[in-house]
């Protein structure tokens, strides 16, 4: 469908695509899971699980009146859907607290300390007393119907080049349950993630471009990492972006997990807001007024239609219903973001509010088996002219009517410009409507959890133990351990930095060898899909020490790790035996060396030292990975010396 090109020439100026503009305001909200042994309000471990859950329960949620008597709009919106929520759990890692069957335990002090450490690194001021709140969230992602959250610190900063970026607030909160599946009737969540502590850091709206947003997010991420107490891997960090342009509205884009997408998301949202403003101008120019939410039953027009969706809906007792958008003709094709037209915004509202599969509209038809003739009938039925757009859905009557009302509501908002809303991002960086912006009155005190005074002693201790920032640590590793710049940066950025330093210090292992093992060997194994995380630090240390002593060949390290990772709980001895490493007994080895040397005495006498290297080559062919090169080398040299010194044959 290439209608847009033709349309643009007629009515609208070219799409605005420009990334840097000082009227752009962006704020970032980072959510990062903490790597604590226990959850925020119970003693469960903070592990995600993939095997079949042990049990599941069904629940419903109901919105309640807030202290201001305002039934929160977003809350109401969710409850309108009256869904059943299914929660899955595991007997050994999910307890009654996650099930909302037991009051929360005291706030996890370890998590509080980590949050205060992050706050200090971000130059923030901690609160004097921490109060846990209930933030109402009734999309089912929390069994309670609220997320527990506490403000820990506020008003800090970090520098992006010459620019000072405000760190508005740092909150410590419980992560939500994981969504497993989603149907109009039932939403399924897994409770393993519910209650994992996370810090939420919100910057001020001081960021002026997508690139800057990305830089700030990166810097924040590195500061968090410096604590060594952050969870790593997919899903452990999420960024929400608040984006607005002059004349536009603050839009929240939820859950961007990849840093690399941030600049694109910002760019596309700026584009979308600009295009919505242009769309508003065009509607004004046309003299369009707010459409009326008058839903017309047009089933008879389509009674013999060949459209697949329509046929199917009618067969199962559905109706085709339509609304008229007077003056909107052609505008539903307006491209707001690459590949996303205004019609899709309407459709998203219909889907989210009405739960329909989608909408049809006259700007994209005839197509999908719907003919010119169908359209003529439709237009006649709702008295639409060529200047008008008609939107219709085929669904159960009540559902269709809700969906079309949502369409009319969104179409009317186009007359005002950019409606404030929460959007979710698509893999290409564009976004789609998720839900209305939540109201502000959705916080209640969590009366089940006592407050915590942030004492001077605790703050002193936090300040004394502030972790080294990653940049500093990299420099130190280069200087202190003689690592290359690349290797130092890699190891500092990896989860192994602390282990690395411990091994080098305690066991006197060669720093570059240890670093390379972590950064190259283990990473290579991880790429192969081997569960490197299951290796215990003690095992890794043991293997490295054995290599250092020459008991295990350097070349065998990867093989040993591979075996240990797939044979959990087994020892290194078992690994070497199973891999027939180090299984060569000394006598056999010596005999082999003696035999080799004997066979090559002529050459040795002739070439002296130079003969060593080809002989080593031969030995390695037999013993590679089984005996360390150093050991072979020693044996070989000794045997040669013995022969040359004239030991009798």
């Amino acid at each position: 469908m290439n209608g847009h090109e033709a349309f643009r020439g007629r009515n609208l100026p070219a799409l605005a695509v420009e990334s840097v503009n000082h009227h752009i305001k962006v704020g970032i909200e980072i959510h990062q899971q903490l790597d604590t042994p226990k959850k925020l309000f119970c003693g469960c471990p903070t592990v995600l699980r993939e095997e079949d859950p042990h049990f599941s329960i069904l629940r419903r949620l109901k919105p309640t009146y807030s202290e201001l008597g305002d039934l929160d709009r977003a809350a109401l919106f969710e409850s309108e859907r009256r869904r059943t929520f299914c929660y899955q759990g595991y007997n050994d890692t999910v307890c009654l607290v996650e099930l909302d069957e037991e009051p929360p335990h005291d706030l996890n002090r370890d998590a509080v300390s980590i949050s205060l450490t992050v706050a200090a690194l971000l130059n923030m001021t901690p609160v004097d007393e921490i109060h846990v709140m209930r933030k109402i969230v009734i999309d089912g992602s929390n069994t309670t119907g609220f997320q527990r959250t506490a403000k820990i610190a506020f008003d800090g900063w970090l520098m992006d080049g010459e620019e000072r970026i405000t760190m508005q607030s740092l909150c410590l909160e419980e992560d939500a349950a994981r969504k497993i599946s989603d149907t109009p009737e039932m939403m399924t969540y897994r409770l393993d993630r519910l209650g994992i502590p996370l810090v939420e850091i919100a910057t001020g709206p001081d960021i002026h471009s997508g690139e800057q947003a990305e830089r700030v997010a990166l810097q924040l991420g590195r500061i968090l990492k410096a604590t060594g107490r952050m969870k790593r891997g997919l899903g452990t960090i999420r960024q929400d972006l608040n984006i607005s342009i002059e004349g536009g509205t603050r839009i929240e884009v939820k859950g961007v997990q990849e840093l690399g997408l941030i600049s694109t998301v910002v760019e596309y949202e700026v584009t979308r807001q600009r295009n919505l403003l242009l769309l508003r101008e065009e509607l004004k120019r046309r003299g369009v007024t707010a459409p009326r939410p008058k839903v017309v039953d047009v089933t008879d027009v389509f009674s013999s239609s060949n459209g697949k969706v329509i046929k199917k809906a009618l067969e199962s007792g559905g109706r085709v219903q339509a609304v008229l958008l007077p003056g909107y003709g052609g505008l539903l094709k307006t491209e707001l973001q690459p590949g996303r037209r205004f019609g899709m915004e309407l459709s998203d509202h219909a889907k989210v509010f009405g739960g329909v599969g989608g909408i049809f509209h006259t700007d994209e038809l005839p197509a999908y088996g719907i003919t010119e003739e169908d359209l003529r009938g439709l237009r006649k039925k709702v008295s639409a002219t060529e200047n008008d757009a008609v939107v219709f859905v085929a669904a159960e009557a009540a559902v269709g009517s809700v969906a079309l009302n949502a369409v009319v509501m969104r179409a009317s908002e186009a007359l005002k410009g950019v409606p404030g809303e929460v959007r979710a991002f698509n893999p290409d960086g564009t976004t789609h409507f998720m839900r209305p912006m939540p109201g502000s009155a959705r916080m209640y005190p969590e009366t089940d959890v006592p407050s915590i005074v942030v004492g001077a002693d605790l703050l002193d201790k936090i300040r004394r133990d502030l972790p080294e920032l990653l940049e500093k640590r990299t420099e130190r590793y280069i200087k202190e351990y003689g690592l290359s710049k690349d290797l130092a940066a890699l190891i500092v950025d990896s989860p192994y930095a602390i282990t690395f330093e411990r091994l080098v210090k305690s066991d006197g292992l060669a720093p570059s060898f240890v670093a390379a093992t972590f950064e190259y060997t283990l990473k290579m194994l991880k790429r192969e899909g081997i569960d490197v995380e299951s290796l215990e630090e003690g095992q890794i240390r043991d293997v490295l020490i054995r290599v250092h002593k020459g008991e295990v060949a350097k070349e065998a390290v990867a093989e040993i790790f591979r075996w240990l990772a797939s044979n959990r709980g087994r020892s290194i001895e078992e690994a070497t035996r199973a891999l027939s490493l180090g299984a060569v007994d000394t006598a056999a080895l010596k005999a082999a060396v003696a035999e080799l040397v004997g066979r090559n005495m002529e050459r040795i006498r002739r070439d002296g030292e130079r003969a060593l290297s080809p002989l080593m080559g031969d030995l390695m062919k037999t013993f590679r990975g089984k005996v360390g090169g150093k050991v072979l080398h020693e044996l070989l040299k000794e045997e040669i010396r013995r022969r040359l010194e004239g030991a009798p044959r």
């Binding site: 109901k62 709140m133 933030k135 607030s169 005190p445 009366t447 005074v453």
Partner: protein
């Protein structure tokens, strides 16, 4: 009002003429905040005040070096949507009597605590679907947490139920805190003799101010059961599992709270429940007293001077002395196993009975019945005059003894009445049933 504040922080608040709910500017050399002054828990210190910031978060600010100032506060324009009570005279009349407890509580933003505040009318308002189930009358009888309920309250509840039934109620719902709901259920079972309609006690384990509260489903189920159940008994209706799907009505004399916090904390002990309520259907389990027939007879006197004493290794015999001296009228013993006590207590028990106290033996096992013939110690207790409580729950035995002593003073009548099954609390047979719990 400056609730929860004390000591130094209270002085500061008073000095500036502040009240909870005022908009306040608070600053020191590091910070400056405006927010709403919030109430403080009585248990917290006197060094911090609580502000609700504009983003909704509460934070505690140390009063050291803190300067506070009252700001003009803007009136909240938002008010709850108007409430129209539905009334449908064609539906069965059901009365909801409110006594307090978690089902009838909400966060009090003045005190920051959960307190019994929602009236029966509030409940009806927050669950408007109740209007589709029955034609509802409401009454606020009490407003107490259930741990504070006293036997006298059982009497007023029984009288209130009786009045509602006389006024034509086809069923009565009593909202009640869960802690002592089992005791009240037993008490009403004895007090409401010849009951013509169901009386359903209902509570919730998660307070009704929370989106996940079990109050809504429980209350709907209770009204439904009161309106439609075929039985005319006192029942306790709560969740049948952790899910918001099935509800169970337990017989008032057989129910016990067996979990501190779960939604399905209540279980029927030594008996099947009365019914299960699920998907708009009431499924009964077996024998029950039918609706209809007869005139309600109120027997709402309870003798409060009865104690429940649990036996345990090393229980000191002289704990009975004050009970005997102070003139208590009855003792329910929670013996071990089949109904045993250490022999060291025997002289005390003998003295109690000789002093005119009625002594009853139930078992701390909860499940099963006492049988004091199996071992000689049991037989000795029987010979002293201890009355075995059969398969009654110890708490039910306590309530029953209070009730029996409220009906008669004659020792022979007391024994006879206690040993007689009044409201399904006692049975001759122990059914082999899968115990419904946890």
């Amino acid at each position: 009002m400056v609730s929860g504040y004390k000591g130094k922080v209270l002085e500061l608040i008073k000095k500036h003429g502040l009240e909870v709910g005022d908009r306040v500017l608070a600053k020191n050399e590091r910070i400056s905040f405006s927010g709403i002054l919030m109430p403080r828990s009585e248990l917290d210190d006197d060094q911090h005040l609580i502000l609700k910031l504009d983003d909704g978060y509460n934070i505690g600010l140390s009063i050291e070096g803190l300067v506070v100032q009252k700001l003009p506060s803007e009136e909240s324009k938002i008010s709850p949507p108007p409430f129209e009570a539905k009334s449908n005279p064609s539906l069965p009349k059901v009365s909801i009597i409110s006594t307090g407890g978690t089902i009838a509580s909400k966060v009090d933003y003045r005190t920051g605590a959960v307190s019994p505040a929602l009236s029966a009318r509030d409940l009806y308002q927050s669950v408007p679907e109740l209007g589709d189930l029955a034609d509802i009358r409401t009454e606020i009888l009490l407003s107490v947490l259930s741990e504070n309920i006293v036997p006298e309250n059982w009497g007023s509840m029984a009288r209130s139920v009786s009045n509602h039934i006389k006024d034509g109620a086809k069923g009565v719902v009593i909202t009640h805190g869960t802690d002592t709901m089992g005791y009240t259920a037993a008490a009403l079972s004895f007090a409401l003799s010849n009951l013509p309609v169901p009386v359903i006690l209902v509570g919730s384990q998660r307070s009704s101010d929370r989106p996940s509260s079990d109050a809504y489903l429980n209350l709907k189920g209770a009204v439904f059961a009161a309106a439609r159940a075929p039985f005319a008994e006192v029942g306790v209706l709560m969740h049948g599992g952790s899910s918001d799907s099935s509800l169970v009505v337990h017989r008032g004399t057989r129910v016990r709270k067996l979990h501190t916090s779960r939604r399905d904390a209540f279980a029927s002990v030594n008996a099947l429940p009365l019914a299960r309520v699920q998907d708009g259907k009431i499924e009964t389990y077996g024998g029950y007293r039918r609706r209809g027939g007869g005139e309600l007879e109120l027997k709402a006197n309870f003798e409060e001077d009865v104690v429940l004493i649990k036996s345990f290794p090393g229980v000191p015999p002289d704990i009975f002395d004050p009970v005997i001296h102070r003139g208590f009228r009855g003792i329910v013993l929670e013996g071990t196993g089949l109904g045993h006590l250490p022999e060291s207590l025997f002289p005390s028990i003998r003295r109690a009975i000789q002093s005119g106290l009625t002594v009853v033996m139930a078992s701390q096992c909860l499940y099963g019945r006492v049988n004091m013939n199996v071992y000689s110690t049991g037989r000795e207790l029987l010979n002293m005059g201890v009355i075995p409580a059969g398969d009654m729950l110890p708490e039910t035995a306590l309530v029953k003894l209070m009730w029996v002593l409220g009906q008669t003073d004659e020792p022979e009548k007391i024994r006879e009445l206690f040993l007689k099954n009044i409201a399904g609390e006692l049975s001759e047979r122990s059914d082999f049933i899968d115990v419904e719990r946890g």
